[in-house]
Amino acid sequence: MKYRSQAVARPYFIAAIGLFLAQIVFGVILGIQYVVGDFLFPEIPFNVARMVHTNTLIVWILMGFMGAAYYLIPEETERELYSPLLAHVMFWVFLAAAALTVAGYLIVPYARLAELTGNDILPTMGREFLEQPTITKVGIVIVALAFLFNIGMTVLKGRKTAVSLVMLIGLLGLALLFLFSFYNPTNLVLDKYYWWWVVHLWVEGVWELILGSMLAFVLIKTTGVDREVVEKWLYVIIAMALITGLVGTGHHYFWIGAPEYWQWWGSIFSALEPLPFFMMTVFAFNMVNQRRRNHPNRAAVLWALGTSVLAFIGAGVWGFLHTLAPVNFYTHGSQITAAHGHMAFFGAYVLINITMISYAMPLLNGREANSMRSQVLEMWSFWLMSVSMVFITLFLTGAGILQVFLQRFTDTPLPFMVVQEKIALFYWLRLISGLVFLGGLVVYITSFFVAARDARQGIAPVAKDAELAPVNP
């Protein structure tokens, strides 16, 4: 940690991991409800558990992004944060808003929550991922504005690097696009059309900028490769991301009432969306191979490489699998979609946040890297979570393929619920994988406590000095 104000990132990271745990616990509940339909019914119906699962995911990823920005912006701009106090205050505002919202989901029926929060004044609730009460959405906007002001002022006054500028553009886009969540006309087609401007243009647009800059930052720090080289890659990758991703929005416009030419535009451009992710994989491995130093935090490097690979498989390959209109006609809104969603979110946004946390947390705690024991635990958790997520994805894909053939691609289509029972075996297998994932997360959290204890006992991060010798002298 080079600048004192970077310390404000710490609570953001801790809260992010806490919410991550909540997300996964509710994910397991959902997994059980898929096979034991009345589990926790009617206390926590599926839709409530799902809201908690997806909303905590979004909030913790945003928390992670903010923490990452507070950590890397001072280092990139080479000056203290404009206002650490504002960052602290906003952390508590954001956390309180998130906690109150989740409590609201769990304590009162959703319709009552809508009433209590005055949703009729400005109706924004009840749409997938945007279920938050309108006042929570307003709160998110306020937090985002204060955050952008803080980060923006810091960048403005300090050194301007590609990493910090790209991050700032990504965050700015994130905040601006969120404003479309306030647009909710009765016209269902318009509602859906612009709903995607939040959802798609976030995850397949501006979030990729944030992801790219975070990955670039960690790779600069851990490999010691020349900044010029890394930043060139960064620009080319995010250029490709926006070039393919913007018009790629069209792959959501095939069957919601939008004109049919979107089937061509959407298919053509989203077919190229794997390209930036593929470049990201090549980039990450290239940088690590050309490294000028062996950073003692090997776990962070593993997370970074894992991000690039799993983002490519999840977002790139699994996205391409069902993005062409003739295929999507049969797979739209099936378990294939769920499979892609899980792998893509995990590979791209969960892993990049853990990469950042894994790199920055030891430094925030005053050491370059954690003890080897702690890092080994982290690596175990990486493999446990990644492999179990691969299996979750494969099982959901299996379920989805069967669903498509029984319910849609057939002359004798069966009703939805009949098909669900026929494919229950895959849901059981998915649930088992989900439990392994939860185990992996517990191992990850444990690694922090092991690191703290080893640090107190003065155990050094790397056992053998020889391993620190430069690879490419």
Partner: protein
């Protein structure tokens, strides 16, 4: 081999490419906005008509009860319960059948199985929901879903 690959060129491509594709996307959106009236059944939504008011109320109830948290509507939402974009046609173009189904849900579920919660809607509210689902089924969705099972 001597090679030039400058950061400023990569940056220019990023800015230029982004602006280019934002404009292209907006141009396509403009055309979409002009074409949508032929496809989205907006004539039904006129708030001065009774049907228009019912649809608006139906969408409000749809949102206030977070139906999207289990169902899909035009293929978007959760994948836990059946698609409802075409439920009107699946139920034989019959609003009463939709209403009857919603009313018949047991308050404490069905042991071991998925069941829709009991919502205790008034008759007017049920009418509104059915009207909204009817309107959804009449949107021109390019032939999706492939069959009536959704």
């Amino acid at each position: 081999m001597a090679q030039v690959f400058t950061k400023s060129m990569a940056r220019n491509i990023f800015y230029g490419g982004s602006v280019f594709f934002v404009l292209l996307f907006l141009a396509l959106t403009l055309d979409t906005s002009l074409t949508l009236p032929e496809r989205d059944q907006r004539h039904q939504l006129d708030p001065s008509t009774e049907v228009g008011q019912r649809i608006a109320e139906g969408k409000r109830l749809w949102e206030h009860n977070n139906c999207i948290g289990c169902h899909t509507l035009l293929g978007e939402g959760a994948y836990f319960a059946p698609e409802l974009g075409n439920v009107y046609t699946r139920f034989g173009n019959n609003k009463e059948a939709i209403k009857a189904f919603i009313q018949s849900r047991p308050a404490y579920g069905i042991p071991g199985r998925r069941s829709m919660p009991r919502f205790n809607f008034s008759d007017a509210e049920l009418d509104a929901i059915a009207e909204f689902l009817k309107y959804s089924s009449e949107i021109n969705t390019a032939g999706w879903p492939p069959n009536k099972q959704g």
